[in-house]
Structures are given as structure tokens and as C-alpha cells.
Symmetry: C2
Subunit: 289 residues, 2 copies
Amino acid sequence: MRQINAVPEHPPSVSEQVQSGWAGTRYPHSRYGVMGLEQNTPVQHADPCQNQLLSALPHKDAELLFPDLKRVHLPEGTSIREPGQVMHQVYFPTTCIVSLVCELTDGCSVETAMVGREGCVGAAGSMGAEATNARAIVQSAGDADRMSLQSFKSALQRSDALMQLLLYFGQALLTQIGQTVVCNRHHTVEQRLARRLLWSSDCLGVPQWHATHEWMAAMLGVRREGVTTAAGKLKCAGLIDYRRGEVRILDHSGLEARACECYREVSNEYQRLLGASGRAYGRKRTSRE
Amino acid sequence: MRQINAVPEHPPSVSEQVQSGWAGTRYPHSRYGVMGLEQNTPVQHADPCQNQLLSALPHKDAELLFPDLKRVHLPEGTSIREPGQVMHQVYFPTTCIVSLVCELTDGCSVETAMVGREGCVGAAGSMGAEATNARAIVQSAGDADRMSLQSFKSALQRSDALMQLLLYFGQALLTQIGQTVVCNRHHTVEQRLARRLLWSSDCLGVPQWHATHEWMAAMLGVRREGVTTAAGKLKCAGLIDYRRGEVRILDHSGLEARACECYREVSNEYQRLLGASGRAYGRKRTSRE
DNA sequence: TTAAAAATGTGCGGCAGCGCACAGATTGGC
DNA sequence: GCCAATCTGTGCGCTGCCGCACATTTTTAA
């Protein structure tokens, strides 16, 4: 039984947390971001640390969104959306990663998708059905641009470009989840770990970030020991390095060789649909054949 | 390595098949529908064998679609969409089930979702991104109402009700795929088989249909023998019966008890989002609490 | 009528991953 | 500086499922 530590009951959603000034529930144990208060900085269009969906927007469409966007800091483990709960905010990650996690009643869990600066979380709410069965948790602490669902909806109605981008992203997300189904079914822990490390790195745009074995195990839906073993092999091979929660990819293409085809499959689809906004860190663009 | 028989290379898409009058590729071996020619019958709004998305439409919205809908017969194993290919038709199953299947290069496969009379296939094409990584195959032979993507798109622009229904269905589909990720990761073959049998029955609206162990194995991403063993247990318990490809559910609630929570989770979500159009066969509606 | 194909049943060795237990190393809190 | 919490490493027996081989029955094709 794969179980995430220290989450005896569901923590309050981040909308409550941030509104009440509270720091956010960690998931699992983490010493990070415990006092992470939001910055509420206005967001500039020319910002280099930009969410890639936003920066792909034409200027006139972007102007619809930017007045309402606020940059917030999201500590690791923050729950952005609880299963079954309504989401009132849309998040555009800039330097954080959000994991969509599906849980069972016995505590077993698995990550269904991962969203970084190439996408957004909560936009599905604008599509009609507010809640989903998946929890959205901040996997890697960082910033996100946030706006109210209401503002987002009205911008969406006035911007075809935004709608188009959103639909492309939705499609890419669907591909990612679908590929995760096969991958979890047919590939080894080591392959899946490698794939997931690459996804994370691509989402973040940097080769190093914080993630414990415990956390990665919960995302892959396997035992912590299984991750330790697999990670140990990758470390021995000189492909990655890690130490008490700090992971670093040393050899991106080497790691790709150990990962299953699922990494490249999804990566290619992101490139195809989102182009330059796709996940691309450390990847050499190659044809599918 | 889980491999589907007799599909050495990708068969042509159904649009080609039907247009050329050819019968459709079977997947895996099947003696059914080999000569299945399309009927091209005009579709009536009052039709009792109706797709439930269509029948949920207000009359004025339905009038936008019905002139362009043609009822076609889809033999078992017909491939409606090949991975990576563009889809030019939208299908609204009435008495058939379509499986969305994700495949690996080594032939391993797994079903990511199942669409019956409560949904549609190909509408994602109207969302911008035409192709997906998933193959769409007719799992259970039957009829579907079909129209061109072009007509569908234009109807979609003029009907808010249609858009709304479609978005709800999309949400339900996402829930189904997400739940499949956890389920495939954490539940036994027997649990997953039971879940899938119930889904099939609910999609079809009848307790009996055609499905071989081989086929179910490919959908669950396990060995054929594994299905034989699991199905044998369910048969012994008097919950189902089967014989050379004909499956029948004898005790719906008994089978539910053997299935994992994933069945009810998704079933509830379909009810919530699609109401009366949700999958409901043989289910007693119960609250989630 | 006969042969071939399809569908199901069964047994067996092997292995990836599970559950559990415990040990060492590092870090943060006091 | 010490203690407690966190993170990682390792070993061991167990089990669910895999891969393979082969038998039996039913259906289809010739």
C-alpha cells in the first residue's frame, strides 16, 4: 500500500490558505516553504521568468490578462486544489511545478500529470465543470502567476488566441495522461523514474531541483525503497546526482537512453502543439523516426 | 510483452475504409463485422436508440446537428482513429463502444478510456488539435451517429448548449482516464476486470456483449491467461457468465463488490456531470457519502 | 467430413516489486 | 552541542503477474 506520510486528513485548499495568510500544507514532510507568504507582485509582460503560455500570447490578448495577474510564491507541497472542490483561481506556473495527483481511499496515490511553465492549472474550471477527482499539489516550490477564474473566463471570451492556446495545452495534457497510463502499466520503476526526472527538468527549465525519494515514490505510485534502488543505479551510471532531496541531472541524453519512449513521445507532442512553449530543457530536437 | 494479435502494421483509418466500401480491420481476430457496410440511415431526434449526448440537447440545438447525422454500423475492431492521424468525422455511439487505446512501439497496449452512448469520439478535433496519441477502436460492434467535423464545428459555434455538454463530457473523460492511471497502478487484475466489465455494460446499456479474454487482456494491459484466471473466479462466484466471446453480467451489484472503488468513482462523476446521460445501466444511484 | 483457427483452461519457473525491519548519515531545532 | 527528525541504504521473504508451453473444446473454412 503506497501511502503518503503525514497527510492524515485533507489540508485546506490553497485559496483558503493564502487568503488566511497561512503557509500551506506540506505533502509529504518538507521543511520548505513553511512561511511562504505570497508576494502579490504585479506581472510584467516582458518578464523573462514568464509562463510560456502567457508569453506566447499576442500583445493585445495578453493585455486582457496581465492587469489581473499577480505573482505568488507557492511552497512545496501546497495543495492548489482538493479533489471534488471548486477552484476559484487559475495558476500559470513560472518557476514551480504542479502535480496532478489521483488518490484512492486507502491512501495510495499516483501522479497523472505534471504542469510547469508550459501550462496552467485550473483553467478546466472555465470549461464548465469546476471540480475534478485529481488533487493539484506543488511538486517543486516556486512562483506562479495567478488570477481569478472569473477574470479568466471573461478574458477567454474575448480572446480567440487564448482559447486556442488553452485548447492546445489541454490536448497536450491529455496526451501526457494517456501516456502515463501505458507507462505505469508496462515500464519498470527505473525507466519511469528517468522519464519523470526528465519531465521535471523540462518543466522547470533547470537541471536541478528539490525532490526526495519519498515524494518521487508517491508520484510514481511505488515504494520509497524502489526509488532508492532505481535512483542509485542512475547515480552509479553518472546520469544524475542527488543528496538529501536535491536532485540534479548530469547527463540529459544519457538519462533519456535509460528512460522509456514515453518521455520523448510526450515531449514531441508538447513541441508539436505548443511549439517554442513546449517542454524543451536540455533536449536536442530530433525527428520522431 | 502484451501484444495484440494480427495487427502487424497499422490498418487504414475508418474514414478510408468506409469510403472505399471496405469492411474494416479487426483488432484482434474477430469474425464479426467483416462485411459490415454502413447503413447511412438518416437519424431521427425521437429515436429511442439515441446517443445520450444528442438526446440531452434542447430541440433547437439538436436541429443544428440532425440534418448532417448519418447512422453507420461499426464492426468490432474497426479503427476509427489511428494515432497521429487527423480525424474528419465525429462519432456519437448509440449501440457500440469505442475504446481509446494507447500503444507502445513494442506492441504493448492499454485502454485509457471507453466511450459509449454517453459520449462522443473525435470532438477533440474541433478543439484545435486534430490528432492524438491514442488509437480509437470499436470494442463492441454496433451503431453510431456520424457527422463531418466541419459541420460539427459550425454547429458548435452556434450552440452554447452543445458546447456546454461537450465540455462536461470532456471533463468526465478526463476523470475516467485519471482514475485509470491509479487503478492500473494499484489494483489487481480481478478488480480491474470487474470494473471494466461494469463500465462496458453501463456504456452499452445492456448486460451482455461480445468480448474475448484476449481482447480484455489487451485493454487491461495484462496477459490473456491472467484474464482467464480472473474471469474464472468471477464466473465461479456466479457474478458473470461467458462462453467463446459472449460475456454476460449476472449479478451487477455482486460484481461491484468485487471491483475496486474506481468503478463507482467514475460512475458517480458521469452522473454528476452528465446527469441522466451518464452511465447508469444496472446501477442503483447512491450518494457518495 | 476434415482440417485449421479461435477461444479457453492449466501448470510451472522466474522475477519485479511489495511490506517490513533496521541501520547509518545528515540536518535542523533547542 | 545534543537530540530528534529527515533522508537514504540494504536485506529478506512473499506474492502477483509474466512468459512459455501445451491441452481441450468449439467454430469456421475448405
